[in-house]
């Protein structure tokens, strides 16, 4: 059992008993292994259903958009930055949310686990020392959690919540040797035609289910451009230009706001790493404007501001 669970239940129970909040948003045990779906708890009797694991991949800031009443939410480093972004954009009021920060050691990629294990998985148990025991089809294997992490968690430098009312545990250490943009640089080094092929390939299996959009806290438009019929900005079929347009535009809509929480990738039924688009934008925001999303709610996101000193190297 994860060491955070008792503390999580204790905090949730206290907040509900004291009537400090109407609802607590956290994670529950899934019906399938390696998935911890989000859940909301309204009474102290139900806090036992709350859990924590390395499968809490969904970004809970997504459930705070325009929420009414006072709520508490468990937030990892990335979720927390998304909440800060929500506050900056007026989608939630700071006084309406109790943020319970969860210092994070990263979430695991269930596809990686399935691939390495090979057989159908019945149970995944995490030990406090970072060992992961996977059981299924009558056999058992041991792995290191660090080998099973999601790509976004491997390059994450904001594992500790940036804004919180309470912490579940002490902050975790951030490794110093993280190469944040290794994946982007690898693509950047290729020739232009190879890059296009790479991205064509990346989205070739996309079925336009929009799970990535729905899982994203920054995608809160009442009507998404892909659903708009008048005008119809983008075709609805699987013609490649339409699929590519969806991905390009979705990425641009998250520019300067995406916290690389990886919820999109975790939600995708086809295992598409659409972070390849957003990570480049994140890198550009940092390189061009020294901007990182969700670190402060006092500043507007990068693409919402203009100063005469903005770099204009691309302008003739």
């Amino acid at each position: 059992m994860h060491t955070y669970i008792d503390k999580i239940r204790e905090i949730a129970s206290r907040l509900l008993k004291e009537e400090a909040v109407e609802m607590v948003i956290g994670y529950q045990e899934g019906t399938l292994p390696m998935i911890s779906p989000p859940m909301s708890v309204r009474s102290a009797e139900d806090v036992e259903k709350l859990t924590w694991s390395s499968h809490c991949c969904i970004n809970l800031a997504n459930y705070l958009t325009d929420i009414k009443g006072k709520v508490a939410v468990f937030a990892k480093g990335c979720d927390c930055r998304s909440i800060v972004n929500h506050i900056a954009e007026g989608k939630v009021k700071r006084e309406d949310v109790v943020i319970i920060g969860v210092p994070c050691n990263g979430m695991m990629e269930r596809r990686t686990i399935s691939n390495i294990f090979g057989d159908e998985i019945e149970e995944v148990v995490e030990e406090a020392d970072g060992t992961v025991i996977v059981r299924g089809k009558g056999r058992e294997e041991k792995y290191q959690k660090s080998d099973l992490l999601r790509q976004c968690c491997r390059v994450c430098v904001h594992k500790n919540p940036v804004l919180y009312d309470e912490l579940v545990a002490d902050p975790v250490a951030i490794p110093e040797d993280i190469q944040r943009y290794k994946e982007v640089e690898k693509i950047e080094a290729r020739e232009i035609d190879k890059r296009w092929k790479f991205f064509e390939n990346l989205i070739s299996t996309c079925i336009r289910c929009y799970a990535c959009r729905d899982a994203c806290p920054t995608c809160y438009c009442p009507t998404c451009f892909v659903d708009e019929a008048q005008p119809q900005w983008v075709g609805k079929g699987d013609d490649e230009p339409d699929v590519m347009t969806f991905h390009i535009l979705r990425a641009f809509h998250t520019a300067g706001r995406c916290t690389d929480c990886g919820a999109c990738v975790s939600a995708c039924p086809m295992g598409i790493n659409m972070r390849a688009f957003t990570k480049k934008l994140e890198k550009d925001c940092l390189d061009l404007w020294d901007w990182e999303a969700g670190l402060t709610s006092d500043m507007r996101p990068a693409l919402e501001t203009f100063t005469p000193s903005d770099p204009e190297d691309n302008f003739k």
């Binding site: 950047e188 232009i192 190879k194 890059r195 092929k197 991205f199 013609d239 230009p241 990425a251």
Partner: protein
Amino acid sequence: MLTHIGIEPERLQFSWISSAESTKFIDVVTEVVEAVRKVGPNTRLVKNMVREP
């Protein structure tokens, strides 16, 4: 990001031109047209195109 994913930089040009700068407008348009002509017809993000398998 567009050039990052493989859109040719020649097709992506930005410029500040005031409504009073007619000669600059002509120069920029001419340059853009020349640059695009050099890279040839666009094959990326084109609808209903017959693609090589």
